[in-house]
């Protein structure tokens, strides 16, 4: 099987190892039983099983259950706390809350309300990310979620700026629906997606004062890459998108803000609007090359020759931007199974998390360890990409400390720390805790919210319209009272059952099977022998059946060691 050959592999070459590679890349890996099922098919059938996923039911996948944080008074949520209180002062009401006609802190309820939503949407977005990762763990259509993950990184949008989890739900649904469809449709849908419109400042892009943010990113990051257009093209594109915006969760065009004049864009002249601009961008050969190469790097490997990059672009163009047939060719190709393509992909944190559970046969996301905490530590918090460029993939995931942390994550999966676990959702930080204690102890609000050690005299005579620290406490509390709980359960699985069912009888067989199950790249013979010796010592025998009643714990330690190997980071 040769690199950079797109012709399909011969059925005779199909094997367990190739099936494992396919499931790892086109999905999130799986148990030996799942790999055997794919290996028993022809390559075409196996690839079709992953690519033509609409045939596979998804009724087993639960819908996201909203906590019910939102109500229509939160539409047009103020951009900042000052904006919220100023709105209250000006109009007597904000976010559905009226200013108190008299008495202390007349703007306090409005301020509480502001902080309530700030906290609620963050908590809900974390729940949404948890629901998504749970779906990745459960799904029988892993490519659907993997492509959604790809598009999330490609059309990176962060809730941080939106402050509205509902718009993330809408965007995520849109990306999933178009995951392996036509890129042209998806690009147009993204350009009209409320989350993206807000994220790239569509509201500020108006006739006479265009904001270039979307016009720039649509070419630099979403389609062509730098160097294939001019600054003038960006300005002209921005003009064509003027007036595009959203009314809450709907796309709207404000004709009064749209510049319907003549634009010159990428060598063409006309009264272009946003749809026209996207059409012209899709005609550029560079767009297909750029998207094809990015898909290739995500699924196959980092390096390719210029000639091969051009062929991948041709392939996507020949398929008229249809993603599914492009991926089918890729997943069947000699190149995909060639030496340079195998065991060379560094798992992203999300891939690491999901594949760890799936390889252990776990079919729902455990609540311990906490997903957000793990994601943050490992450097990929879903729905919060660091910038509009998404995440730097590959080597950028790894530092010495992160190698340790990845092994520490594996330990938390194998040995969930139920005793030491503290739910981070209920940790508002030291300051809110302190204010909470003071308020519960009966202190007056101003005194309760002073810095430790601050002199009360400094605030004497100040009359507060509102107190933001108290509002943080009130908002956080209210959000937590309404939040649907995140179950804090440990992963349920049995390594012992899995290995015994697979026919392992000795410690040597147990080690070899675990190595085959968790690693695509071998460890040294010495390390393998050391693992066998370790199990022998821990079990007091090399006979698994004899040690059946206390087998699980030592097996999990051995699994942790295997997952601590650098090889475990490779897919």
């Amino acid at each position: 099987m040769q690199a950079e050959i797109l012709a399909p592999i011969a059925p005779a070459q199909w094997s367990y190892d190739l099936a494992a590679h396919l499931l790892e890349r086109a999905g999130f890996g799986g148990t030996p039983a799942e790999i055997r099922r794919l290996a028993a098919m022809t390559p075409e059938q196996a690839v079709s099983q992953l690519v033509d996923y609409e045939r596979i039911g998804d009724n087993n996948l639960p819908d996201f259950e909203e906590s019910g944080f939102w109500d229509p008074s939160l539409k047009n949520f103020p951009l900042s706390r000052p904006a919220a209180t100023e709105l209250g002062e000006r109009s007597g009401e904000a976010m559905g809350i009226k200013v108190k006609p008299k008495g202390d802190r007349p703007l306090q309820p409005i301020t509480n309300r502001f902080f309530y939503w700030l906290r609620a949407t963050v908590l809900e977005t974390h729940r949404l990310a948890g629901w998504w990762v749970d779906r990745m763990v459960r799904t029988g259509r892993p490519l659907e979620e993997k492509m959604t993950l790809f598009w999330h990184g490609h059309f990176a949008t962060s809730e941080e700026k939106l402050r509205d989890y509902r718009k993330m739900i809408v965007q995520l649904d849109m990306l999933r629906r178009g995951a392996t469809g036509n890129f042209a449709d998806l690009l147009l849908a993204v350009a009209k997606d409320p989350a993206m419109l807000i994220f790239l400042d569509a509201g500020q892009n108006v006739k006479g004062a265009p904001n270039e943010n979307f016009g720039r990113e649509v070419m630099e990051l979403f389609t062509m890459g730098v160097g294939n257009y001019t600054e003038r093209d960006i300005r002209e594109a921005a003009r064509a998108f003027t007036g595009w915006g959203n009314d809450d969760l709907s796309f709207v065009v404000d004709a009064g803000k749209h510049d319907d004049g003549v634009k010159q864009f990428l060598g063409r002249t006309g009264k272009f609007d946003g749809d026209d601009i996207i059409g012209i961008i899709l005609e550029q050969p560079q767009t297909a090359n750029y998207i094809a190469a990015k898909l290739y790097r995500f699924f196959v490997r980092e390096d390719m020759t210029e000639a091969f990059r051009a062929r991948l672009g041709d392939l996507l163009r020949q398929n008229n931007y249809e993603i599914a047939p492009f991926l089918r060719t890729l997943f069947l190709s000699e190149d995909f199974y060639s030496e340079p393509s195998r065991g060379t992909h560094i798992k992203s944190p999300t891939e690491l998390i999901v594949s760890t559970y799936r390889k252990l046969g776990v079919r729902e996301l455990p609540g311990v360890p906490d997903l957000y905490t793990v994601s943050k530590t490992l450097g990929q918090v879903l729905l919060y990409p660091p910038t509009v460029a998404g995440w730097g993939e590959g080597k950028a995931w790894i530092t010495p400390g992160l190698l340790f942390e990845r092994a520490n994550f594996a330990r938390e999966v194998l040995f969930p720390n139920m005793i030491g676990f503290e739910d981070p959702n209920f940790d508002p930080g030291g300051e809110i805790r302190r204010v909470n204690r003071n308020i519960l102890a009966g202190m007056e609000i101003t005194a309760a919210t002073l810095e430790d050690g601050a002199s009360p005299s400094m605030v004497a005579g100040i009359r507060e319209d509102f107190n933001t620290r108290y509002a943080s406490l009130m908002g956080y509390s209210e959000a937590l009272r309404r939040m649907k709980p995140v179950p804090r359960t440990a992963a349920q699985f049995s390594l012992a059952d899995m290995l015994l069912d697979a026919g392992a009888r000795t410690t040597t067989e147990a080690v070899d099977r675990m190595l085959a199950q968790f690693l695509l790249v071998p460890i040294t013979a010495e390390a393998r022998d050391a693992l066998v010796a370790f199990l022998d010592e821990q079990l007091g025998t090399s006979d698994l059946a004899a040690a059946r009643s206390y087998l699980e714990q030592p097996l999990r330690v051995a699994a942790h060691l295997i997952m601590s190997a650098p090889q475990y980071q490779l897919a």
Partner: protein, 417 residues
């Protein structure tokens, strides 16, 4: 214990030849067999001893109450309660003064070791901590960039990533600022926790499992094994450096990381760039900020000043420059909770013996405002450009910053010399 002054390459060689090998190798000044201390790294480190330390003040520091424009009535008009009276300031000149808790900074300024850059910001500012910090960390405001500006600096200065541990980040997670294509930043917080958690019974096996298997390999695997090897040795080296580091210098009450930087510098780490955040959005002072902000600056000033003194003690004063920034300043007017809300421009500091002390950048007006916010006078990437070319000696900062930014004459002395 004071550290022995660093040996030059020829001194080391002479000592090795004279039979003092164990002293030299054991003295943390170059264990050439370890991946962290490759010969190339040594050569590079010898070629240029300069070190850049970035201190990030997270949360949005209130610049107006840091470098206080006490001669401007508009300051007191906008801040009737929070404005700091001139008799409570450490005056720098007849216009500006520091908080009274910042004697260290005052000394550094008066000794000509501090450049204050006024009005630092960028066009179309974001008021979000996260976004604005990402803009600073990537050097790409309102844009998308997956690598940090310091990561790109490392990639530009040493494209092959030969200088191991070029980038060190003192934190519990990796900052976007040090994310690089060809460099692997060393990220740790507590040197004694920078380790793989293992049960007692498995500890012996952890090393064996991380060894590369012989046979076919590829670039990605080589990379991972290099990092794994470097992780194992870095873990030890960091701990050794930390545990053997003793200093008479008092690093103050909030030791947010420069003490650990000093330990690594004392142990002659080949690191060129250290990134040290003052964490947890500490400078986000919306409420009753007076005492709090004063205290934050006591800690910050004490810690940074101690570091500069410690470098002097180690004989590295001429080699180290510290740049201090925050993702944005606060609004000019105080709010009704005796705090300040998210704003735009603020001062940044460039500190160290090599710096031409003084003030740089236009002083922003306190009355000609943009919706209550300062109009920035100095694009922050001019500071980056200054540090990249004037200090790190890379001649094409525009390759890293993707545009031309005129350097400030902060390193004028070097350039003239």
């Amino acid at each position: 214990m004071a550290k022995t002054p660093k040996l030059t390459g020829s001194e080391k060689e002479a000592m090795l030849q004279a039979g003092f090998g164990s002293l030299v190798l054991g003295g943390a000044s170059g264990i050439t067999t370890s991946p962290v201390w490759s010969k190339v790294a040594e050569a590079q480190a010898e070629a240029n001893d300069r070190i850049l330390v970035i201190v990030e003040l997270s949360g949005g520091n209130d610049g107006l109450n840091t470098v206080v424009p006490y001669a401007d009535d508009a300051y007191y008009n906008a801040r009737p309660h929070l404005g700091i009276r001139d008799n409570k300031l450490l005056k720098l000149d007849d216009y500006f003064g520091f908080q009274r808790t910042m004697p260290g900074f005052e000394r550094l300024y008066k000794d000509g070791m501090m450049g204050i850059v006024h009005g630092v910001g960028y066009d179309q500012p974001s008021f979000s901590h996260f976004s604005s910090m990402a803009f600073w960390q990537t050097g790409a405001p309102n844009g998308g960039e997956v690598y940090g500006w310091l990561g790109r600096l490392a990639d530009a200065v040493d494209p092959l990533g030969h200088t191991s541990n070029f980038l060190v980040n003192i934190d519990d997670h990796q900052s976007l600022a040090v994310r690089a294509m060809n460099h692997v930043p060393l990220v740790f917080d507590n040197p004694n926790n920078f380790t793989l958690s293992a049960f007692h019974e498995e500890k012996q096996l952890v090393k064996a499992i991380s060894a590369p298997a012989p046979g076919r390999s590829n670039a990605t695997q080589d990379f991972l094994f290099d990092v794994a090897a470097s992780a194992a040795s870095s873990e030890q080296l960091v701990r050794d450096a930390w545990n053997s580091y003793q200093t008479p210098v008092n690093y103050g009450l909030a030791r947010f990381g420069l003490d650990r930087v000093a330990a690594l510098i004392a142990a002659d780490f080949p690191t060129k760039v250290y990134y040290v955040p003052y964490r947890n959005n500490a400078f986000d002072t919306h409420v009753y900020q007076g005492d709090l902000h004063e205290r934050l600056w006591a800690y910050t000033s004490d810690h940074i000043t101690a570091f500069v003194r410690d470098m002097e003690r180690l004989g590295r004063g001429d080699d180290v420059v510290v740049m201090v920034f925050s993702e944005f300043g606060r609004r000019v007017a105080e709010n009704t909770s005796l705090g300040t809300d998210h704003g735009t421009a603020g001062p940044a500091f460039v500190i160290g013996k090599p710096v031409a002390g003084g003030q740089y950048g236009g002083i922003p007006s306190l009355t000609d405002l943009d919706d209550g916010n300062l109009k920035f006078t100095t694009d922050y990437r001019r500071i980056y450009s200054t540090l990249i070319s004037g200090w790190m000696g890379h001649e094409h900062p525009s390759m890293i910053l993707k545009d031309e930014f005129k350097p400030l004459p902060i390193f004028g002395r070097q350039l003239a010399a």
